[in-house]
Amino acid sequence: MTASVLAAGVLEDTIRAFFQGLPIGAGFALVAMSFVLTYKTSGVFNLAFGAQAFISAATYFELHVRRDWPIWSAVLVAVVLVAPLLGLLLERLIFRHVHASSAVAKLVISLGLLVALPELFKLIVDYNREQPFGAVGIIPDGTTIYRLFGRYPVTRDEIAAFVIVVAAAVALAALFRYTRLGLRIRAVVQSPRMTELNGVNADWVSSGSWMLSSFFAGLAGVLLVPTTSSLGTVLEPTGYFPIVISALAAAALGRLVSLPAAMFGGLLLGVVTTQMRTHVPRDNVILAELQGPALPYVMLFAIIVFWPAIRRQVAGADPLLGVSPPPPALAATSRSKGMTIYTRIMALAFFTAVGIWTFGYANNFWISRITHSVIFSIIFLSIVVFTGLGGQIALCQVTFAAIGAFGAMQFAQRWDISVIVGMLAGAAIAAAVGAVLSIPVMRLGGIWLAIATLAFALFFHDVLVKYSWVGGSLFHGRGVPRPEFLGVDFSSRENFLILCVAILVLVGVLVILIRESSTGMALRALRGSETAAESIGVISWRSRVIVFSVSAGIAAIGGGLLAMEERLVGYEANFDPQTGLFWLVIVVVLGTRTVEGGIQAGVAFVIFPELVLHRWLGLDGAWRFVLFGFAAISFARHPEGLLEHGKRRSQAMMQRMFARRQPAMATAGAPAGAGPTTEAEAETGDEP
């Protein structure tokens, strides 16, 4: 009797949790399907989805809540006009021109857009003129409650979201399976030129696909507002981020191509969430975490790493897809001796001038800014190692930097040990974590590697940081002293800057050594073709583990120095995973393959917004996100970075000028096809 009552209770709880999970799952499903739709119709893993969703929701908010437009007209503008128009613009201005680029290049561009679009929208409509408070849904009386089977409550908003999800899944599946248009959309994604041979206007099909997917992003944006607490209170783009990440797990279930799988994945995610919260006890720390903040990231990571379909997708990809021509030689390697001397003299003069100004005239604020730029240069060199040398995208460098910062803090606070030792210990821990993390994810590559590392970063952010053994104690603060080193007290800003510069030099040399070492050559070979590289004896896993752990260690050293410079671990200010996305964007825009590129990114990250945007141009600091975000588009055309590209162009120009001045020498002394016109010139020869 007791057992049967208990079983009935469990059954009742399970059924109730099922119905409670469906509305949550509908939100995930909507986002997951929009993801899949974009990927299916464009081949782009569109992390800017959240930005597109935000723009429609914010437009609706602006019109309906702030300007009192009727719901229907605000929806018409925000979802039916603005969202497709945004999709059209993205396709026409950006993605059409990167169709043949790698998936990683498109991912980087979408990251740039994720950073840039919301900020641009806010600047255009002066969105922050007052707090975006009190957003509402698009369904009239959306909070009206109905009871399924007379007992399970559901709101009109939730019913609408669910119905739209199911209807969209059916309609889109039918579109792709049974209609000529669907076939053409798929064909255009795979080969626009071949499709055009059959008389299909690939341009318009592609534009239409983007408009459709953007429409769904906009629809998801407004539908999520009433069902997501944070969006309904203050409508900010960051509110979409956790939902998008959770929905990625659902999209991954369908390998980003199956709409029904994405729908079922989303619903399943919602139901699993509520079932766990119903049946799993909360008095155990690990189980409690798995019900709460950790759940979406653990699921995402687990799906990416263990889901057979994804493993098959990675293994079964087009073998030629992973075969890339080796990256062109660096501009510095092909310039003339005279040019090299000239460049070095100019660089020396520049740094001497900066040094004189810094130590002779700059106030504490500018010394601090310069120190920050040196430290961020160090951190960004970790991206140079992983992305520039390794050819992969990781979105967790910010986490490794945080580990270095917390390492310095913990050693100093708990054991009164030198922060330098703490920083190095943090670097060792980060390197070890990087090595361990690399083992399950290294074979993924491309976008899956990026997403898996993002899941790890978010897990650290939402789960681990709050534990005192990681993030310190609330009651002791996160203070970090500056070091004494070789009898020198580095507590003054000037001395600490000198220390940071010295470490930057050491790290820069280390990066160059790695680049020129057998590991660096192995990485270059792996970038070209992993299979071919292995056939000549390159051990791919070893190279990948080394590059992952070295990169993590460098980031951690930078993080430790940053904590010392700020005298505390400003985790929320510096190490948020979304901040890390911008780090990647700014480095890939300026140059991932050279130490110089990393340093210039560090300077641009810190000095550019303060000096150029704020003081010279009087612009809002948000413009840096817009400028560098959109500049990420250049990654597809110039994966070496804008600065390296600029160097090649200027070098080629100088050499052409030189050739014109000495035509006789150029023609008489050089064999056919050679001469001062080098790879650099060839590189720029196809420029429009």
Partner: protein
């Protein structure tokens, strides 16, 4: 990587490790930061040396044309004699013959909380208008000269820039986190802020609208509220990704369990500190569990986003009328009016005497006069209170004030309640966190709470004229609170 390279790397690391172990950490005596805190001894000036001739500010000096002309004429603050004494001052940042300038650092953009922090500036400016309309202070006007945007967590560089520009007497801070605290404190900048951070503790130059408070400590308040509303079964929520929220929730749980017998056998039936910020996964299972267990009062350490999500789920599960929620952060009139049905009958904690309370406070009267036409927010009052504290500190420092004498004057205020609008603070000893130093606690632990009725607030604690409910801090035994006022 070649073996040679490995050896080089390992060698370099070994050398670094050896050197590092031989080194230590520098002290915190920063760089070229200006000397902190201690006031230059005014006794250096011989008593018989004539002070610079004080000048009365001319009564007919025109005020700021842009200042509002409120009706009716405001009651002047109760002036000490020297309020209008003008003494030329040189070398004090932000002070000239006409103005006393201050800077604010406030989270204006990127604020993801429901709390409108930017309203803090409105409160400061309203108070400065009030003082300037009644003649200013020491022949000068108070001016909020520079409004810096923290842009969410970027207050450290803003603080450093402010210190280096050196053109403000004081800083006013309202940010979600306060990373710039040490920079301002070490530079000796008198700083007034929205005290929700530990960074306000243990820093002599930094003052909050309230004193550093005991976080997670056992408090009779929580079981007392339950006894007042007739509840005996508690549910408690805290965010799983915020240590602050978790400690707060644990303190609530411990308080209820500690006083369980005295509070009619009250029990904690539900405790969850695993929910994620943003609540993308909702709280339906948790509400079902609470309903099953008969929870009749819910305490949380959440922001108003979270409160709304829980309330929506309570309504969905037809359980809203059977439970009272205690809100720590929902004193927001617009939000509550927009969600009237969700929060009917709930209790909301307020850090100061609410706008709705009946209290004899000229400062509150002036607040209403000078904020007319401004959307009133919690932060408007916090800014007003901070500006008032700044003004009172200036009065205490005298007409020849500087940063250090301002701080010293404030640290002599041992019974300061912003004219009754806050619990009385002893700034001379309430510097550290009571968690670390019990002597730094309030004399009375008091609450002020309002009840939500038809989308508006009604005073719930105390009695007319005495809005606070207070317990003596030194008494740990269960005892009835006392209705108090700190005005007058």
């Amino acid at each position: 990587m070649t073996a040679r390279l490995w050896k080089m790397l390992l060698g370099a690391l070994a050398v670094l490790a050896l050197v590092a172990t031989a080194c230590g950490n520098a002290g915190n005596d920063d760089e070229g930061a200006p000397a902190p805190t201690a006031a230059p001894a005014p006794a250096d000036e011989p008593d018989d040396e004539p002070a610079p001739a004080p000048e009365e500010a001319p009564d007919d000096e025109p005020g700021d044309d842009s200042a509002p002309e409120p009706e009716p004429e405001p009651e002047e603050p109760k002036d000490p004699e020297h309020r209008h004494t003008f003494v030329p001052i040189e070398g004090v940042p932000g002070v000239n013959d006409d103005e006393i300038k201050v800077t604010s650092i406030v989270t204006i953009s990127n604020n993801t909380l429901g709390t409108n922090i930017a309203a803090y500036n409105d409160g400061i400016e309203a108070y400065f208008n009030f003082i300037n309309d009644t003649g200013g202070i020491y022949g000068r006007e108070l001016v909020l000269d520079n409004k810096r945007d923290d842009q969410l967590f970027q207050n450290q560089p803003q603080a450093l820039a402010m210190v280096e520009e050196d053109d403000s007497l004081a800083a006013f801070v309202a940010t979600l986190l306060f990373f710039g605290a040490d920079i301002l404190n070490d530079a000796g900048v008198p700083t007034f802020g929205w005290n929700i951070h530990n960074e306000f503790a243990d820093r002599r130059n930094i003052f909050g609208h309230i004193a550093p408070s005991c976080i997670g400590c056992i408090h009779q308040l929580f079981p007392y509220i339950a006894t007042r509303v007739g509840a005996t079964k508690a549910g408690i929520f805290g965010y799983g990704n915020s240590e602050n929220s978790k400690i707060c929730a644990e303190g609530t749980r411990d308080s209820i369990e500690h006083y369980s017998a005295e509070a009619g056998g009250m029990t904690v039936e539900f405790f969850d500190t695993s929910i994620e910020f943003g609540l993308a996964g909702g709280v339906a299972p948790q509400v079902s569990e609470m309903k099953d267990k008969g929870v009749d009062i819910i305490y949380t350490c959440l922001d108003l986003n979270g409160m709304r999500t829980i309330a929506q789920e309570l309504v969905k599960q037809d359980y809203r009328d059977e439970v009272v929620m205690y809100h720590p952060n929902t004193y927001n009139h617009e939000f509550v009016a927009a969600n009237a049905d969700l929060f009917e009958g709930d209790l909301v904690f307020v850090q100061f005497v609410p706008f709705e309370a009946d209290i004899d406070s000229s400062l509150q009267e002036a607040f209403f006069q000078y904020t007319e036409g401004i959307k009133l927010e919690e932060q408007t009052m916090v800014g007003w209170l901070n500006a008032h504290l700044f003004y009172e500190g200036l009065l205490g420092a005298g007409p020849e004030f500087d940063r250090a004498s301002l701080v010293d004057a404030l640290r002599t205020f041992d019974d300061y309640s912003h004219d009754g609008l806050t619990n009385a603070i002893d700034f001379s000893r309430q510097i550290d966190l009571p968690n670390n130093n019990p002597d730094a606690d309030y004399e009375y632990r008091c609450i002020n709470a309002v009840k939500i009725v038809n989308g508006d607030f009604e005073q719930w604690t105390g009695e007319p004229g005495k809005p606070w409910l207070c317990w003596e801090t030194v008494r740990e035994d269960w005892h009835d609170p006392e209705a108090l006022t700190f005005a007058g």
